[in-house]
Symmetry: D2
Subunit: 257 residues, 4 copies
């Protein structure tokens, strides 16, 4: 991990602290064009980091986040000095996003990527009725629920955790399939799948019980079928300080209570 980064581009969320940080860091290190920079430094919280990962997907530019926001699970500590040394010493994690192919009630196909999770959710107060297939085989013929999601290890500490899904080590070759408020079967708790398995969610009674699909922050209204798999083609890179690596964060998160 002794890769060295000559040109740095700073991107910042819209909050004043993040904008101020961008100004100060640009004065210290220069601010390269995001198109040519060797590394992108993102300033903000986890939400902004997710946006940045999406924005620089497939550019091969690694992203290093520094916390100027509220949660900061994906972020390194904010410090102004020694940035080049921290970048050179950082550990790189390759993240393969989920690919969502959603077909809506007009038959239109939508494609979006998700770093955290793809979720399907009821649109009105009517509970969703969903069927779930894994690798082309129906495993649950009818799930009556608020919704269901497929989460990556990165996303396992986000929405998946709220829905009582397990926290996964970052490089576990797994995906969490986690229901939200399952009414029938009412005690179904979801499944840990292998990361090469493909999940298909079919909306039953899509007219009476409309459901939306969401890949991170991309929402598709009124879907009838959603296919979710780890993308083989897409990848982004995230950098963490060694003394506070993702492994350590996951452990800390797992032992929080």
């Amino acid at each position: 991990m002794s890769r060295s980064f000559h040109s740095i581009a700073f991107v910042a969320s819209e909050t004043e602290p993040a904008q101020e940080a961008a100004r100060r860091l640009s004065a210290l290190y220069g601010n390269a064009s995001t198109e040519t920079a060797d590394v992108i430094v993102a300033l903000g919280g986890d939400g902004f980091m997710l946006q940045t990962l999406h924005r620089f997907m497939d550019t091969s530019q690694p992203i290093y986040g520094m916390n100027k926001g509220t949660v900061g699970f994906l972020m390194n500590h904010y410090r102004e000095h020694g940035l080049r040394e921290r970048l050179a010493a950082a550990v790189e994690n390759a993240i393969h996003p989920l690919e969502m192919i959603a077909i809506d009630t007009d038959g239109v196909e939508h494609r979006a990527l998700a770093i955290n999770e793809v979720s399907i959710f009821r649109q009105s107060y009517q509970a969703a009725r969903l069927a779930i297939s894994i690798d082309g085989k129906v495993r649950l013929e009818e799930l009556v629920c608020d919704g269901v999601m497929v989460a990556t290890p990165t996303g396992s500490t986000a929405y998946n955790l709220s829905a009582q899904g397990p926290i996964l080590p970052i490089d576990a070759p797994l995906l969490a399939l986690t229901p939200v408020s399952p009414f029938r079967p009412r005690r179904w708790r979801g499944a840990l799948l292998r990361n090469h398995q493909e999940v298909r969610i079919t909306a039953l009674e899509a007219a009476k019980r409309p459901v939306n699909a969401v890949a991170d922050a991309t929402e598709v209204k009124s879907v009838t079928e959603v296919t979710i798999r780890e993308s083989g083609d897409d990848v982004c890179y995230i950098l963490f300080d060694q003394d506070h690596s993702w492994d350590e964060r996951i452990l800390i998160e797992q032992f929080r209570y």
Copy 2:
């Protein structure tokens, strides 16, 4: 419980089996006007029964359901003969609904009753941020979640159960306050409140994170504040066969797995 019912009105859900049952029973027992009948017999499933209870709220006419639908938790077994005897022998349960007062983002106040539950739920993929007060005192300053509900004992086997809330005996003087997918505090499991306590849910960031409120099937969009309490004024009466009373149903439901 030796009350006798002279005139019976039959109401039925739209399904053919329920309509057919209404025709056959009307031929056997006559079909009084719903306005003057001593008792209402509802034919359908639990959803139709809920509609019927709402429709005849505060008329003092008791409702006796016979199952011609899918779930049938609120319904007696369907049989055509001996109906007058079953009605005379049935056990009556008084149900006090919840009263929901919801104020929307335009400042308009909406009032609705709920026999099962009042729920507040995120409208978009943005998680809800809610504050919860009990009897005027803030008990949870910030709940980040999909939603939250107040359920009656009757409703404790419905949506409340999906969200992992406890099943309550029908006459327990309690209300279940149950969160859906709590993200922060992430392990909060809700509370069993006394039935005379008043719950107020305030939507924080109602513009960025719009939420809806639902009282059974009455939905109010984009609310900012929802007050929920057991109604002292409203009441409806539901009749159950003695050999299959609500107590027994609750026990059966509690020991299902």
Copy 3:
């Protein structure tokens, strides 16, 4: 609640802070004999309070606890001045303990009372196999588990809470039947029963899979059948400061996370 207490007896746990508190309070208020005192003041933590409640069961002497221990859920705040006024103003709660009748493998019958819970638990690494009856009717023919308990509202914040049972308002007329590590049926979550219902737990394969029964801190080894009901005859009284009543404590506990 304007009952006045002339003679006070102080009892204290073995820790030095509790003993010291007893000396100081006795100097201020005198220390009556526990046999003739109008009120017992217990100094220690929740564990000592439970012992004290057992010790003065059926004497009709109310117990007022002041916290000199670790948890203090059953205790009032410790203060030395104004004790007579606090006692006079305190709210009294009558507590009906559970009565446990346990029959061991030698056929001997043991009786014990429980203020918190009666639990049945595997004695060795072999999972327990239990049958559960309510009011003489078998409701669960086989529960394979670590154990199961019946908890009072008072006990609902103790062991019951660890086993994911719900917290009950102190005067809810309910008992919580809560399994510990149910293996089969594996998703059974227990039941809220009415407080006049009688629970019978039968140990299946009591030789191969020995189980113990525990009523608060009274353990009976190798039981074959345990009957649990709220005692109609036994009662103890616990006193709480008005500004920090049990209701308030339960609410605080329910909103802890």
Copy 4:
């Protein structure tokens, strides 16, 4: 997987159906000495299979189970004909057991292997107080609970599942650390660890609160410290029919409800 097995040894649990099966199969295929056989065929249920895996640990002889017992999660379907062909076509899974090093209150060290799980559990009604370290670093200073376990993917459908731990795909490089009835921190749900991480459980107050350690069916009484890691040296091999592989069983189990 076209390995062929010339000599087969049959081992059977003590039940009559299993013994009878062993006689019939021996008549059809011969019964080699367990010491020289190419493959061991185990007849019984999951409990007997576990015993057999322990018995033939490190012999490099693969074990093929046929179900003559109650659960049969680890077993193939029982059929008498075509056994050689089934054995030749079976899929082999290498299982690395957990190694438990337990030190008791006399300072004696005990070593045992576990295919399912190593659990630590309270010996009396006194709750256990445990500290948990991962790779030498304390992660939980005090867990007050009934117990805690480390489960393998194989064991994730056994005791781990009762304690609400997640079901793991058989070759997931993970271990499940799962608490039983955590009282403090009361909402801690455990952690998914990497399979190369070492877990150390220390009993606090081992005299007042005695705990036992169990590796599968090997129990060590009154332990003070237990170290658990995946054994690098030990291995056993289990054979599954292709049409009903472990993957498929895990999926079926994950979608059971």
